[in-house]
Amino acid sequence: MDIFWLVILGLTMGMVFGIALEKSRVMEPGVLINQFLFRDFTMLKMFLAATATGLVSLSALTAFGIAELHPKGFVVGNIIIGGTILGIGIAIAGACPGTVFAQIGRGYKDAWFTITGGLLGAAFYGYNKSVIDGALDLGNLGKITYADFVPSVPFWMLGLGTSALLVVFMFALESYRPWTSDRKDASGGLGHSPAE
């Protein structure tokens, strides 16, 4: 696709993404951090629904043979240490690399500083990639997926099965803790009333 149309497509998809993040309040620092404190389950609910829907979407695309999967590699040390640092970063910033842009749209000025820090963090890694990767080198298991463990089962079957399990889990979570109750006890002042 022409770069112009790729950018238009990206902006359009991003707008849908941004509306979803803003309306679900997942972009609020209090929602993310209270998930880590198990006081608010909004983030987990959105995350499970997105994963389950993604699994169904990709199961369909691969079953019809119209798209190829692009799983990321399992670089052991990088995944473990990087994942942990990323989690710490989410807890400090109250944002993810994606939701910080929704904070910008929401008008939170401090998010500009999170992005500035993020640009410097990305540059720091870019300049020091070989040193950092060398220090964390625990081997690379490649782009393995759980579907590789059962080669006789097609991805779509495993994908739909996993998605169904996630849906069951979501129903259990929802009956234990309805989404409308989440922010009441934890995220004070988050969009209860239109007057907020």
């Binding site: 497509l9 842009f101 000025k109 999170t114």
Partner: protein, 172 residues
């Protein structure tokens, strides 16, 4: 436009919408949803204004040349636009920082928010780039592809987040 006017919507609905976005991503861009690569693209272009060697560093060069990273940069810009539309339509007032910080007994005052945001952003992107993806790329997209590495990354994101959140905010 009642859909946009409500200030609070189901996280399940939001998740379903985001999960469906994988379809145009894979079909039209041949890639998965992600966000953190765009920081490398942007910082590559920013730093190349001061340092002409940046474009010769293989890591930056990759993110400054491939079409899918321009698409992703447009995607994150779109996230800001979409959130702006959603926020304006719901008629809420703006504030320097999120009122939700109060639920963590954290001061919403400007200076501490700036410092914490800056440090948080730095840590966030170092972690995401070391891991090779963020909550979108490893989380939502990696799990939807049943990636083993991404599932381990997600577990450690929660480990890091839970430990840090308990150390930083437990008293609240």
């Amino acid at each position: 436009m009642d859909l946009l006017r409500k200030s609070m919507r189901s996280p399940y609905l939001a998740g379903i919408i985001i999960g469906l976005l994988q379809i145009p991503a894979f079909l039209l861009v041949d890639t998965a949803l992600g966000a953190s690569s765009s920081f490398v693209t942007a910082s590559g272009f920013l730093f190349s204004a001061f340092d002409s060697s940046v474009a010769e560093i293989k890591y930056f060069a990759k993110y400054m040349s491939k079409d899918k990273y321009f698409w992703q940069s447009a995607l994150v810009t779109g996230i800001a636009l979409g959130a702006f539309i959603s926020y304006k339509a719901s008629g809420r007032t703006s504030s320097f920082s999120s009122p939700s910080w109060r639920s963590l007994s954290v001061s919403p005052a400007a200076l501490p928010r700036i410092i914490q945001g800056f440090i948080g952003g730095f840590v966030l992107l170092i972690g995401a780039r070391i891991a090779g993806g963020c909550t979108s790329g490893h989380g939502i997209s990696g799990l939807a592809q049943l990636s083993v590495g991404s599932s381990v990354a997600v577990v450690f994101m929660f480990v890091g987040g839970i430990i840090a959140a308990n150390l930083l905010y437990k008293r609240s």
